[in-house]
Symmetry: C2
């Protein structure tokens, strides 16, 4: 595996949800030599255990710092992840855009990351979007990330001053098994992460929601032991 | 003046700060036949009176609703508008990007508006950016707005379903005097709005900060009586 080595000491903002993907992204950014400032957004998600996992993951991977910013996207409703009136789907992958899609979530999170990056003087933002397993989410596609990067390079002080801002999405074309193998090589302890859409207060996974099914299948395909604590 | 008339009943999200520009934008959107859902972001700005002005303006112009969402961009610092350690400039326009620039503020606000628009089923977002008077702000330029619109059209459910999302910036090429004349024709009561970066608790303007200077000069050039309540 090739690890970029030209970023020693440069600051990066890493969007860290506390799930498997973003933990892997943090490990990749750290291994690339970035000093990582982790940002978690409390957008009113049901699965609160995820935010606690983000704290554990940032500490375990020796990030510079980890912050949680509250933004009540749940006030708008419209997703099974934030709206108690919509059940989390457990019947397998649906056609079209999943019920768990949170409107404009990645755009909002990347925008807040951009604000922090600008204050930090960072030119690099890392995000764990993945176009393979979550192909129903419009804001996980490579063309979306490219358009956000283009916009960000017109939006900020850095852009006016001639710097180039990069949105790194190192998982975008990887399968879940490839992500797990890469993180495993980098020493990520996936037992600290929470992917489940309806984890209990102790962070134990339900084992049946879409996120759990994808994750479990990923460990199996990667032939890596699954350290996930399941409730049942 | 041409008022578009093809949007009767369509929903729009209008970013409403409580200042002169966004009040004018709301009046334009209402006159165009949109049912307006106003969004104000409490990002930790010093000038709290602005948020109270947004409530008054939305009511006076008969918007459908007005919401305030809290997002503590002030936690990041980096602007005279959110950081108590940086003084609000009163010495006139500086070269380059003003101290009052809030990192990525318009990107964050437009992103949150996009999230709400998606839940509402709205295809139209209005924002009061202006490239003439605030030419030092990178996120007030037409090319930035175009890039955001392009990104938004890749980000959302609407885009996947073939709809087109529009970012309306009707003030972008107007002078402050032209904005005031347009709002005046549409019946905007500018006495309800607060532009001052350091208004007192009653919403009275300092009269000396950059925002006050631009606003006062605008009323003078427009030959419209200035209804601003000044502290001195």
């Amino acid at each position: 595996m090739t690890i970029e080595t030209s970023f020693h000491g440069s600051r990066a903002v890493v969007l860290l949800s506390g799930g498997l993907d973003s933990a892997t992204v943090l490990a990749i950014a750290q291994a690339s030599g970035f000093a990582c400032h982790c940002l978690s957004i409390d957008y009113g998600q049901r699965h609160r255990a995820e935010l606690e996992a983000a704290v554990r993951v940032a500490a375990a991977l020796c990030a510079c710092e980890q912050r949680v910013l509250r933004l009540a996207l749940s006030d708008f409703g419209g997703s099974a992840l934030t709206d108690d009136r919509i059940d989390v789907p457990v019947a397998g992958v649906q056609a079209g855009i999943p019920l768990t899609y949170v409107p404009a979530r990645n755009t909002v999170m990347l925008s807040v990351a951009l604000a922090w990056a600008e204050v930090l003087g960072s030119r690099d933002i890392f995000v764990g979007v993945n176009a393979v397993d979550y192909s129903g989410y419009p804001d996980c596609r490579p063309e979306y990330i490219a358009a956000f990067e283009n916009m960000a390079n017109l939006a900020t002080r850095a852009a006016v001053e001639g710097a180039t801002l990069r949105i790194h999405a190192p998982l975008i074309n990887l399968s879940k098994a490839e992500i797990i193998r890469r993180g495993h090589e980098l020493g990520v302890d996936y037992g600290l992460t929470v992917s489940c859409y309806q984890a209990d207060a102790a962070g134990r996974a339900c084992g049946v929601c879409d996120a759990c099914r994808l994750r479990r299948a990923g460990f199996s395909a990667a032939e890596v032991a699954d350290p996930t604590p399941y409730a049942t």
